[in-house]
């Protein structure tokens, strides 16, 4: 048996350290450490609740808009405000833009470069993969940065800038859209659709959504050479390296639901476990600190009652991250959870067959891309220039409210209590807080800690490449995790 500490773990957002216990060249136990604490929940105490809209996006440079949406929804719940349709549509467009860009960034810049590592030099596909995906130097890096920057013009138009916008307000969006700007938005979406269809998928977005089973996906893959598109290339690697056997969990999957509209949310809220769906009960959410560098809370608490008091000394602590649990269970969040809960046929079938794993997490993210882009095109067409985008409403002096939404990497919630017009408690539970949580009071490990068990980690590998795949398959955001 040996122990290893991996870090700094890059191509994730923020700071991450992973400690492994290895037996017979496989991970036998894992501990995940979030090594940075900033204290947003402490900073927000005593402020005017509306100032949360300035502070909380700055929790995270990559989920900035999701943080704004959660904060605005929490304040909106307190006010009981109903956004005008334009405001809802504009916020959906801004939020969809961030989530889609995050999936895109994750695939091209964070996840795929690991297949261009020296460890794979002997594989038949290595030269082509390295030419395309080598970090910074591969052809994809420059190309995808340009495509992404062009797509982010949606932010320039609707949100002023990205990250850290104040356009998302409880009562709607601050940016009215004129008719020619609606055309500009549609043109930007068309430009990005082009890139996705030509480079990422090598097929139309509509066709991608017609793939409803693993078998159909396999048949589609076989239609063309693997080098014909980046998704086909990934499927080739997944097959060759058996990525469906890596990083498996069979935990409950959870989604808070996201992108509200007149017919309900585009991706519905709920949970899914062992083939069965169940409604989400937000009152069952709690956070435990038994293995965190925290104090002041003897037992798990619902976020409305949670406290955040850092203490670097508890002997049982090994991370700044708290351990959120749903009715005591560790749950997995992210695109694979969101699409399974929503009933996307391909993802549900893949998860039914092999659980959540490295391959399925990546496919779920990529299949979500066309779903979001098509929705964005529809939202854009529904914008009605000259009609209201935002309404302003007073905040009550005493109230509480929750804002629950989905960031690219999973479920994000803000719970706010207001007294005498000031914040008396603000608690944030972020996606990677769920996925990379430490053990809890029952010693139940968090999702990544469970997913890593059994991962190959040979003594000859200084940075076991399979571990890299498992960790990055969650698209972790560590700055959100602890905040």
């Amino acid at each position: 048996m040996s122990r290893r500490i991996l870090g700094p773990f890059n191509r994730v957002e923020g700071d991450l350290e992973v400690k492994l216990e290895i037996r017979d060249d496989r991970v036998s136990e894992a501990w995940v450490t979030s090594p940075m604490y900033r204290g947003f929940e402490q900073m927000l105490h005593g402020r005017d609740p509306r100032d949360a809209l300035v502070y909380t996006p700055r929790v995270c440079g990559i989920c900035s808009v999701s943080q704004s949406v959660a904060a605005a929804n929490a304040l909106g719940a307190i006010q009981g405000v109903v956004r005008p349709p334009n405001g809802e549509l504009a916020i959906n467009l801004i939020h969809g833009c961030e989530n889609l860009a995050d999936h895109f960034t994750h695939f091209y810049l964070f996840f795929m470069p690991d297949f261009a590592r020296e460890a794979y030099r002997q594989r038949s596909w290595y030269d082509e993969v390295a030419a395309r995906f080598k970090a910074v130097r591969g052809s994809a890096a420059s190309q995808t940065m340009s495509a992404r920057a062009g797509f982010m013009h949606i932010m320039g138009l609707l949100a002023g800038k990205w990250p850290h916008s104040l356009a998302i307000q409880p009562g709607g969006s601050t940016r009215g859209v004129e008719i020619h700007e609606k055309m500009r938005l549609l043109a930007i979406l068309a430009g990005f659709r082009n890139f996705l269809e030509q480079q990422l998928f090598g097929d139309s977005l509509e066709r991608m959504l017609e793939l409803e089973s693993g078998r159909q996906l396999q048949a589609w893959f076989a239609e063309q050479a693997p080098g014909q598109s980046d998704f086909r290339r990934f499927l080739q690697l997944a097959l060759d390296l058996k990525l469906e056997e890596l990083g498996r969990t069979d935990l409950r999957l959870m989604s808070y639901g996201v992108y509200p509209g007149s017919g309900g949310e585009l991706f519905r809220r709920g949970t899914w476990c062992a083939g069965n769906g169940a409604p989400l009960r937000p009152e069952d959410i709690s956070e435990d600190i038994s293995h965190s560098w925290m104090e002041g809370q003897a037992e798990p608490q619902h976020p409305y009652k949670g406290v955040t008091l850092p203490d670097a000394d508890p002997a049982s602590g090994y991370t700044w991250c708290k351990a959120p649990r749903l009715a005591g269970e560790a749950v997995e969040v992210g695109a694979v959870a969101r699409q399974t809960v929503d009933g996307q046929p391909l993802i549900r079938e893949l998860v039914a067959a092999t659980g959540s794993n490295v391959r399925n997490r990546v496919i779920a993210r990529l299949i979500e891309i066309p779903r979001i882009l098509l929705a964005m095109e529809a939202w854009c067409r529904e914008l009605r220039p000259k009609e209201p985008f935002c309404i302003t409403q007073e905040l009550p002096d005493q109230a509480q409210g929750a804002g629950m939404t989905e960031a690219a990497r999973g479920s994000l919630g803000h719970w706010v209590r207001v007294k005498n017009g000031r914040i008396i408690n603000y608690q944030i539970v972020a996606p990677t807080t769920w996925n990379f949580s430490p053990r809890d009071w029952t010693e139940q490990p968090g999702p990544l800690e469970q997913a890593l068990i059994g991962t190959p980690a040979g003594a000859d590998e200084s940075e076991p490449v399979a571990v890299q795949h498992v960790v990055r398959s969650f698209d972790p955001c560590m700055v959100c995790t602890v905040h």
């Binding site: 502070y55 440079g61 261009a116 320039g156």
Partner: protein
Amino acid sequence: MAAPERNRFNLLWLQSGGCGGCSLSLLCAEAPDLVATLSGAGIDLIWHPMLSEASGSEMREILAKVMRREIRLDALCIEGAVKRGPKGSGRFHMLSGTGRPMMHWVRELAQLARYTLAIGTGASFGGITAGGDNPTDACGLQYSETNRGGLLGSAYLSGAGLPVINVAGCPTHPNWVLDTLMHLALGGFGRDDLDDWQRPRSYCDHLVHHGCPRNEFYEFKASAQELSQGGCMMEHLGCLGTQAHADCNIRPWNGGGSCLKGGYACVNCTQPGFQEPGHRFLETPKIAGIPIGLPTDMPKAWFVALASLSKAATPKRLRSNAHADHIAVPPSCGKREPHE
């Protein structure tokens, strides 16, 4: 084509106690993109947390080589405030895999760097991370808010004899960072290129007010009452664009945006202490109905006199549009010919 070998300029980028937003903003560089811009300028990324292949021990080996001076450190970019707490230990942020506080790494690397850059308002002054009661004792590299000193001390000079270059902004515009790095790589960047807060004058010799599309509303003091309305946001909605140093309305964000164009006020995010304005953001504090914090260079009496005069002269078009979220009354076309 990459620049010839003799001109290579080594850049090491580390993230301290921030949100990573300046790196994500940097990825929005365009025409050309980030990779093309760096390579065209002869700038080599020794390591960047979001982009590099090297992870864990591979990255620690790169750091060791820099420390042994086997890799020349031309520019050290630190993004995010530095955490000195709890109790001066720096344990609120350990550089993972090294068992050492980030604070110590930054101090040691800064001694080796030809140029040290604080990327973002956090690394420059403390910023949002130092908000509220500053629970983690966060500070900037050479400032704690408006007090010179910070982590490295007021006497600190990098190898090239410059103080820390504060590329402030929350987040920074990609070109504020890239123009500065390119100028450093090209040579000739000196103290005169920095303003009183050690920010590059390339973007801080401007005010956010310059080029603001709401300037006509400002001239006539036709003010928005609520967010999403088209009028000037200085009188009621807390806009600090007439005081904030940055070229946001001259050099657009994400293709064409700015905070003002997005329909919300400038919060002066390039300024030390912006995170604690002493009142609610997006609300203008007033005394006897007159906003406090008027434009920097203007005598107050003149401002008040001109404001009341221009308010009286406001055209109906501006009065209407100031309170609408679209153009309610277009400019007149003058005399129209009757339609056929």
